[in-house]
Symmetry: C2
């Protein structure tokens, strides 16, 4: 039995993939699909997401993107649910001369990588997306980029797991249980009063008890550091969902406004996602007046028509961030594997993460190996 | 039996006052205390609320304010609930030279009325309220102004009515029922499925039925026009509640920012209310990106520290507005009285409204008489 700690997009994807390959798995999460995956916009845009100095992250992102078509098709078939997976690309926009120079750098970089890219004048941008502000001076269309609705993805994963009979334990994990240096299970916090424990049948044990397994896969996002001592820290993102009677945009648009990046992601059902702040405030998920103000101010600069839209949802999530911005994926001592630290790329890298844990893509796996942060005091391989 | 149509701050106040004077009353509202009263900030600030050309409204407001201390004390005693009624005044702020001139006009006008007023420099304003922006150039403190938490007021009224055994019928009124020219009752919409009808005992009748009474008091806010043909229209206000670990302000502050009025109302529990937009959009209560943006932008100009506060609540309400901005209070044909059209002053005027319906304050009652809009085709006195 593999115990998957964490029911976000990464943990659920890992559980789904393991389950499909015949392994016995259990997912443990007090509130599945409610953390960073619930907040995420779902852009699958590896190139415009990273700076050109972060080449390892770019390679991971491109590998992640290439796995999405098959992942989406399989998951839709297995769950019977649509993911709103779309492939019309990302439009990066420039307002001033500095922005234009940065965009040209981006385009040249994509050329070098052999990725499909189109340089556009302001007028061409507005022909593509008529709701863009008149002040948009030019843009770069990353035609290979895609996006997906992360809430539909986690709902589909939960449905597929339920169909497959994978148990879901709605409890918080307080610590990893070890036998010598080997991880042999997890300790569960007492269930909250009145909550169904979701423990699987007679092997369940009593409240506060221990669940034993052959392997623990830690996919606990921003909370992964607390359970392992690894340097995973929360980076807060506030994000807003607007509702539009008819779609304002046909594709994702991004830009720098007042020095901060802003993006708008349209859904098939008229939802428009506006994100996101990046704040280092520890485990704080409050929605603040200042965060909201910045999102609204910057979104208006890109697409003035957003002011007419209804505010449907405002949430904050915590991205799990590592010191080198690369995820932690792979074995981390006997009985323990990690699938965490995905920072802004949890949705993009979820399909790749399952492959890496399966031992595929050896070269990329080396980039993500948790061993790079292993200190003397912690368990060895 | 008096039938009070509408369970906002006005309808509940009327019911409470009538009940205390020994009358038999029933309140009818599908969702009491959820409309404009739920959105309202609760400023009791008659002078700074009106332009100097609206003297009748000013006289009403001052009369309303003068009744609040006794109303608050009685309601707190009768309900056992605190209203967060506070009397530290309103601080009107100026940023530029034009604002300063307008403020001096306001102060001179208050002098003329014999109202307590203090002219303050920017520095004096910040001494009073240290969180104000450095760009505040001066202010006027209306020392007689007060404020109250409207949600506590309606909760207290509902509690007092329940204690007094006043029935509350949670149904929508679709029309007034007439016998000749006299109003003799109201027709109720069928109850929503699964809802408790709240109808009082055996006299209840079947769904869609009629409730009969000696008098109908219409206090249906923005919906009053639909039931009477009177010119009452909805004016939408979006308003935001922030949460502060410690209070940012000691009193209400107001100002003109980018040509639109903004106010901040502090509560004893750390809540800070930021309001409000004024939009003529019919019966639309959506919270929009543009409305939110304006509130946040303008609040930051007055009190930059609001950016740190948590967003607790955002709602939109519909103010019931008449062509001359004065309310409609008093008899309107046999069997019918009105208590509606209070626009921005429902909370301020609620105590006065009960007095006017009681036949007190004859001179003010004439200002509010619904007869001023009576046309040939409608019922006569």
């Amino acid at each position: 039995m593999d115990l998957i700690v964490g029911g976000g997009v990464v943990g659920l994807s890992v559980a789904w993939r393991l389950g499909r390959s015949g392994a016995k798995v259990t997912v443990i999460d007090p509130a599945p699909a409610s953390g960073a995956s619930h907040a995420a916009a779902g852009m699958l845009a590896p190139v415009s997401e990273v700076s050109y100095t972060e080449e390892p992250l770019l390679r991971l992102g491109l590998a992640g993107l290439s796995r999405w078509p098959a992942f989406a098709a399989e998951l839709e078939a297995d769950s019977g649910l649509a993911l709103d997976y779309r492939t019309q690309g990302t439009l990066d926009l420039a307002f001033g001369g500095d922005d234009m120079a940065a965009l040209e750098e981006l385009a040249a970089f994509m050329d070098k990588l052999g990725l499909p890219v189109r340089r556009l004048t302001g007028r061409e941008c507005r022909r593509l997306e008529p709701m863009l502000a008149p002040s948009v001076r030019g843009g770069v269309l990353a035609e290979g980029d895609a996006w997906v609705d992360p809430r539909r993805v986690t709902a589909a994963l939960l449905a597929a797991l339920e169909r497959a009979g994978v148990p879901l334990v709605r409890r918080r994990v307080t610590e990893l249980v070890r036998d010598g240096s080997a991880v042999v299970g997890v300790r569960l916090a007492p269930p909250s009063p009145g909550a169904s424990t979701g423990l699987p049948g007679p092997s369940a044990g009593s409240p506060g008890d221990v669940l034993l397994g052959e392997r623990v896969v830690l996919a606990a996002g921003a909370w992964s550091g607390e359970l392992t001592g690894l340097p995973v820290r929360p980076v807060k993102g506030q994000i807003m969902r607007l509702r539009s009677p008819s779609p304002l945009l046909g594709r994702c648009v991004r830009g720098m406004v007042h020095g901060s990046p802003i993006y708008l992601v349209p859904r098939g059902d008229g939802e428009l996602v506006v994100g996101a702040t990046q704040e280092e405030l520890g485990f704080d998920t409050s929605v603040t007046a200042g965060g909201l103000y910045e999102l609204l101010r910057d979104a208006r600069e890109l697409v003035p028509g957003v002011t007419e839209l209804q505010v449907a949802d405002i949430v904050a999530g915590l991205r799990p961030c590592t010191p080198d911005n690369l995820p932690l994926i792979g074995p981390y001592g006997p009985g323990l594997a990690l699938a965490t630290g995905h920072h802004r790329a949890g949705v993009l890298l979820a399909p790749l993460t399952t492959a890496l844990l399966h031992g595929e893509e050896g070269e990329l796996a080396a980039l993500c190996s948790p061993q790079r942060f292993q200190t003397a005091g912690q368990g060895s391989i």
